[in-house]
Each structure stands twice: as structure tokens, then as C-alpha cells.
Point group: C2
Chain length 320, copies 2
Amino acid sequence: MSVSRVINDNPSVKAETRARVIKAIAKIGYAPNDAARMLKGRSGRTIGLVVPDLSDYFASCFHAIQKVAIQHNYQTLVVATGRIAAVEDRQLESLRNHRIAGLLIVPSGSNGRRLKMLQDCGIPIVALDRPAAGIQADTVLVENREGAELGVRHLIEHGHKKIVCVGFDSGSYTVRERIEGYKQAMRGAGLQPILCDNVNTLEAMQSLVLRWSTGKNRPTAVFSVKRISSVLLIQALHFHKIRVPEQIAVVGFDDFELAEVLGTPLTVVRQSPTDVAHTAAELLFKKISSVKEGRLPEQKAAKVLFPVELIVRRSCGCPK
Amino acid sequence: MSVSRVINDNPSVKAETRARVIKAIAKIGYAPNDAARMLKGRSGRTIGLVVPDLSDYFASCFHAIQKVAIQHNYQTLVVATGRIAAVEDRQLESLRNHRIAGLLIVPSGSNGRRLKMLQDCGIPIVALDRPAAGIQADTVLVENREGAELGVRHLIEHGHKKIVCVGFDSGSYTVRERIEGYKQAMRGAGLQPILCDNVNTLEAMQSLVLRWSTGKNRPTAVFSVKRISSVLLIQALHFHKIRVPEQIAVVGFDDFELAEVLGTPLTVVRQSPTDVAHTAAELLFKKISSVKEGRLPEQKAAKVLFPVELIVRRSCGCPK
DNA sequence: ATGAAAGCGCTAACAA
DNA sequence: TTGTTAGCGCTTTCAT
């Protein structure tokens, strides 16, 4: 049967026939078999999204991406790697079998060989939030360094000299960049960077804070490199009854829903995950249609860099 | 070629041949085409997950589900409906084409016809968080009513008489159930329920709170039906400088990461999304393997109900 | 233990 | 405008 023509909106089919077909479809509840269509060469209507996890930031990304995908009539296959390179590798392999039409990825440190293979299969890839090692692909990032510098400089302008940077999971690109930004700001002001790296648990954070509060020579301000570390920091400060910003001022990278409602509303460097994700998705679909129409992929990979902004609340010491 | 045999672990292949094949596969980077395999009848190695959104609660669900899926060597196709029945319908239709092996769904109000069609295609379905209308399927829920009752009774035990229930999006099953629980608790104590329904924006919440603080006859306690309403409520109370629990006591349904670190730590009724999701996923894979082995589906749909617990912090007025 | 043939549901190209 | 043919890459069955 040339039901196919109706399904694919082929104009050369008589109105009456089309109507009959449509009725029949509705009647028997027919649905085309995607597997067969894509076996026949039509790239499937699914894109892959690989993220470290779906907490907060990446959930926002997902929503922005799915919105674009739905507009293009695509579905989204999500993979959370838990930041484990081995998992990422395995999942990328599965995605390769899946013959997805394109891939959005927040790389969490696998070596890029698998990515390269996907790309060699002709699957367009766009990296977001972090650059992808081992391949050349479009990349959408935010100004991590500049943002961190911005936040730390704000603390410096408040007159702070001993400003600690608390890190978390410094294996990640974004954290490393932000730490660089912190160092730049400190050096730029002739101050000594004090880095507390890899404070990954509440316990670690609490003992760190305890050390500050008992030791002499305590820091007067803290810059936290990401949402989680901000949350842990706030919990720990709260636990040890240290007042913010009176005893210690705080600025964090990444805004979050409740930052405004905390005991002391948190001053943050805000980025826009939806902008990043939306742009990455658009870029991907542009590439996908390029591929479909048989155009050669453009040689130069696009790099998009989004700005960040400082949201001043109370934790930095500003009057409000 | 009988590469197939190697890939599918068919025992009848000489060790030496197998070795050669494996080497060849590695060399040319061969990957089996899932589309072709599933065209041939093998059900695909993808399950669908349909949720209203991926905020917080459902993100936890996703992680729990993906964990189970990966164990079974499946991938997860996520669809967020934004609580729009039309979107849910369209996406379910797409999932049907996708020939997914099973479906986990948090139904957001579509009429169930599409679900029925999927089920009629032989696709196992498990509903979680809310029951699915229009079909008979395994369902995993939490004790919404009982939980709300528990929370409200706690406020009553503190001596409160005027306890408002602030709702959000009362179209949703969980909210309706919790409101029922609230009413039950109030009536059980001979108190008059005061329901503020569908307070869906910060502005609405703020004007509500303003009314309380200016009017006579103000409530002395509030029960919030879900995380978002708790957050809005806290923001609004904060905005109007109303002290918790001195001027008004608060208990909310659903725990969240920062509940403990708020100006006043929030007393909540906690449920476990991971338990719910994990159980639902296990149930689904049990059904999937039933189907694969050609066993008849069991007649009776399973209903699993998870308990909730009251996490006492300070917002209810407990000394702590 | 391995090869050959058929067919899953679809669509692109051609024939009527 | 419609029907026919072939083949996408795999697995199942049967033959070697």
C-alpha cells in the first residue's frame, strides 16, 4: 500500500484516497514503525542528551533542549553518567547503536574516543557547559573565568583581604576555570589565593568551617565555585552558627531558586542554563538538517560564549 | 556473516572464530544496528519515561529509574509534558512509533486513550506518583492523604485552630489527595478547613500573605501541599517580614535539599521519590521479561503504596 | 561450526 | 495518481 505517501505528506495522492487512508489508520490504530523507517536510511527522530546528572542546572538544560526538539518533532534520549567516565563510554556506545540523529553532550571526562566514533558515523555533536576532549565540535560555554573574577572582585571591593575559594570536584572543567578566575582576581589585587579544594562532603565542609572559626587568621570572605559547594557551605556555616555576612562574607557561582530566601540571601554569579542549552540545541538541529540535505559539514566548529552577571544580595555584605 | 552469533553469545561458534570476529569488530568499529534488530522483532532496549517536568522530585525519579534501566542494559527516553495533556498525547503517540519496550508514566491528565493504545500494542505500563486514568496498570503511589493528615495533626497538636491549607495546581491528583488529608485532619479535630486553592504565583502568594497580616482573624498556621507552594510561601512570608513559627507556623508536604537551611528550617512530610521510582522500574522490568518470554500478563494490576514520614524541624513551632 | 536464504516494515525509484 | 520492486541490516531456520 502507498499509505506511506499519506504519512509522508506526499502531494501526489488524491484527496479522496488520502481521506480513506487516514480513516483506516485511525480505525486500526496504525502507527508507522520507526525502526523500519530508520533502517531504510531516514535518520531517526531522536537526539541524545548526555549529562552528568539531572540536578537543577541540567534539568533546566533538558527542558530547554526538549522544547527545541519537540518543535523539530524529535524526541530526546537522556543519559546521566553520574560523572563516571566508564558509564559515559558505555552509554555512548549504546547511543551509537541507537543511530540517533544528533548528540548534545556535557562531557564528563571520558577520553573522547567514543565521541570520535560517533562523529565518524556522521552524527553531529554539540558540547555544552564544557568543551569535549578529543573531537572538534561546536561548543557552547559560559564565561566561567570572567564570572568568578567578577564575584571575587566584588568581595575585594568590600575590602576583604583573606578570601578563601572553596572548591568541589575540581576534576571538572567548569570548576577549574572558576578557580582560575578566582586566582586571577586575587593576584590582580595583590592578594594571596587560599584554595580549599575538593571539599566534597558536608562533613569536610563542616570541619573546614570549624577550622576557620577556631583558628586565628580566619578568612573574612569565601567564594564558592558552584551550587553544591554553596549549599554545603551555607549548611556548615549555619551549623557552626557563623553569621553571614558579619563574620564571613559569601559569594557563590550559580544562582538557585532558594538563594533569595536563605537566612542570608546569597549573592551569586548567575548564568543562564536555558540560554546555553537552547543555543546548543539550535546549533545541533542546524547541523542535523545540513547532514540530511547532504551538505558538507562546515569546517570550523562554532564556539559560543555566554556572559554571566553578578546578582547582589546580602551575603556579600551589601546593605541590600 | 555469522558475526551475529558472536554478538548474541551463541555458544556454537569456535573460540578461534569468535576471537577473529571480535578483533575485526574492534578494528572497523562496527556496531550492530538497533533499528534492524528490533525490526526483526527483538524488542528494543529502550524504555520510555513520561513526567510532568524534571524538577527535583522527578529528577530523583529519573536517576533511580535510569539506574535500574542500565542494570538491565536499557536506555531511557524521557519526555516532559509540562503538564499539558495535549503534549502528553502527542508524545505518547511518538513513543508508540518508537516501539519502546515499556513505559513508566507520571500521568498528567490526558484522557488515557493513547495509553490504552500503547498497552494494546503489548507495551507494559507502570504508573507512578499518580494513578493512570483509562487503563489498568501497575501503580506505585505514596500515602498522600495520610501524609497530609500527619502534618496537619502535628500543627493541631501544637494547639493551632486556624490552619490554612495553601494549594497549588489543584488539578493534580497528588494535590487533591493531600487536600483531602488536610480536610480529614481538620474535621477530625472539629476544626473548620480553610482552603486557599490554586495559589500558583509568587504574586498570588504575596497578596494572600498580605491579607493574612493585615486582616483580623489571621491564621496561626499553614499547611502547604507541595514543594513549590512551600517555596512560594516562604518567599512571601519572608517578603512581608512575618516570623516563622512565632507569627505563623508552617508544615509542608515534600522535603527538599535546602529545607534545613532556610531562615527557619522547614518541618515537612517527607516521601521517598527514589523508592517509588525504583519500585516502579523493577515492576516494569518484571513485566517486560514476562512479555518477552511470552508469558501471559498477570490479570491483577499491582498497587504499591509507600509510607511517608514527618520530619520535625523548627517551622512548626517545635523547640528543636 | 559455518553459510545461505528469507523476511521484518518501510521508502525510493521506477512502471503502469 | 497508483502499484510494483528492491533492499536497508539483522536474526531465524535450514542446509551444509
